[in-house]
Amino acid sequence: MPTETKTERRSFLKRILLLGGLTISWGGIAAILADVWLAAGLFSSAHWRSLVTQEELLSEGVLPFPEQGVALLVQKDRIAALSLECTHLGCRLNVVDEGFFCPCHGSEFGPRGEVYTGPANRSLPWHDIKINRGKIWVQSEAQQDAPIWIALERNGRGTA
């Protein structure tokens, strides 16, 4: 009987190898196809865009750029970029005294983008920001939870 068990075991092993090989190869092909079929969304239309020169900035307050969907939060010595797209359905937000207001469905956001009233249920995301050659640049692809503050160098008045 031991020989029979041995052949049985060997044939079992062979079968496992065979099935494994088949599974891996066809799985691999399926994975390649899936990757290509799903790759259409891997592009972003976001890139660094210059919004305004440093000199043109307000001394303090919110500076909206509805065209780019970004608002600059300017403080005395620092600056950050907040998305101006409603997290509900993507309408452009209006800047109001208390923060931001969505004209489409009435969502309200606080001065730091936190949700006050629905239907939106997420806070506004923050964007990457930098200063280059005296211009403020924003990259709206990066959606951060926390604000990215960068220091402002103001000629004469105010220092970082």
Partner: protein, 554 residues
Amino acid sequence: MAAGKPDWINVFYGMAICLLLVSLGAAVYFSVAHHPLNDHSSIPDLTINLGAGPVREHCTYCHPEGSRPSPDLDQRSLSEHPDISPHQWEKLGCTGCHLGEGMALDVEISHGLPGLGARQVLSGRDLQASCFQCHPVGPLPGAKKAWKGYQRFLAKGCNTCHHISGLGRGGRYGPDLSHIGSLLGLDLLQQEIRDPKADLPNSIMPRFPLSKSRAREIAYFLKSRVKQPYYATPMQIQAGQIKLPAISLAPKGRELAEGERLLFERQCLACHQFREVNGRIAPDLSFIGSQRQRSYLEGFLDNPARYIPGAVMPQVPMIAEEKTTLVNYLSTQAVAPENLSQMLAKKMGQEEPAKQLFMRLCQACHAAEGNGLGPIQPNLANFPRAFAGNADFFRRIQPKRLLASIEKGIPGTSMPGYEKILSPQQRQQVMDLIFAAFIGIGQDDKAKPEELPRKPVQAFIPQDIDSLFTDLCSRCHGDRGNGKGTEALQHLPRPRNLTNHLYFTPLPDERIARAIYSGIPGTAMPAHAEQLSAGQLWGLVGKIRQLSRGNDAD
């Protein structure tokens, strides 16, 4: 082994699976290992619309913010995009100015595949080739050379042959250049301007004396002539509202007669020589008033090819008054001065007078070496007779005919008559010089011509002669006798255009027969004495007469 069990199939099967696994593994490895998407979760995708439809670009993947790429893509690059204010690159995108293929994420393809180079990436100084895609052509900071290129384009008279949209007048002689920037790359443009015959051996475009950098300037201007320009709306283009600026070509700071001004403004001097100004493409017009009749000049301006069949000079559009002024000026002012020899002597110093005359009057076509390859020879419809090394030809020609050629010129060709310019003594001097310096035989050293067969009395059968012409002549002279046979380009001097009625009409039958019978020394025309019977020979003469009369019949 049990019967009916072909076990080799199992081995085969296992092997196939293994090979599939291996090749799949390799495919996955090579596709994934160096792919851009590995390091970045996404690829920047700019879509920019400058007016000719949206354009998608992935350039900023390697060139973040338009910088030169650093080896490590994550690192901020040090060489940033130069300041191009008032432009903003993020609003213009990359390929609008730099060209290239924005959709490709591959170093080679995205910078333009080789070939015609229409999408070859422009950078550095070459970038000014793009400025006039958006800006109206004119002086523009940063596009100095492109603007200069446009000025050269006009100064060289390019638009007399080539149509280009925006210049109302203009020829239909060469290819339309209105969209040439969308079709060819800068390098190719420059090369084609400098050496038009390199690509197309049968191109009739003259080789303009332009340095590389000057040709490059014209190429900068031409590269901006694109299919869907940004400087105007399609409607404006359609309505013909877009004009290229007119530029005065006459030299400033010198008072010019109206006729002379026209020589400049109508771009005659882009090619022709007039006194000190020399375009180095076409014959001298300084003494044309003493060489050609007034009626000849008028007719020639209307249709150059009627007077010199095969001439590459285009019809220059001109209003009637301008033409009259120009012809008036040429026929009264462009005449040889009485003291031509003294004038030349002043300029050329102690050279003997005949040599001075040859250099001033003959050299441009017949060359200083006397071999017919003068500077403007490639642009002439007929090859100037070679003197040097052509003794056999001149042994056959009687002195009377040679002197007549100088005196009256040769009709249907660019050879003008010098009757009014040179005195009989001077003509003889020039002739002596040509024989002494180039031909190298005595003027009375003549060969006795072979006897021509008598012209038979009976008529020839036209069909036979036609097929004989096709067999013997058409390879060089062309089926229709226009000198453009399949082998024509292999020969210089080119085969004679047999439809040139001005040339053939004054020719006696014997001369045509002689040329066929004994050939023409110094050219590719062989002797056919052995091949032809008397009937065939004279039949061919008749055929040539018929071909050269064809133009009149039209």
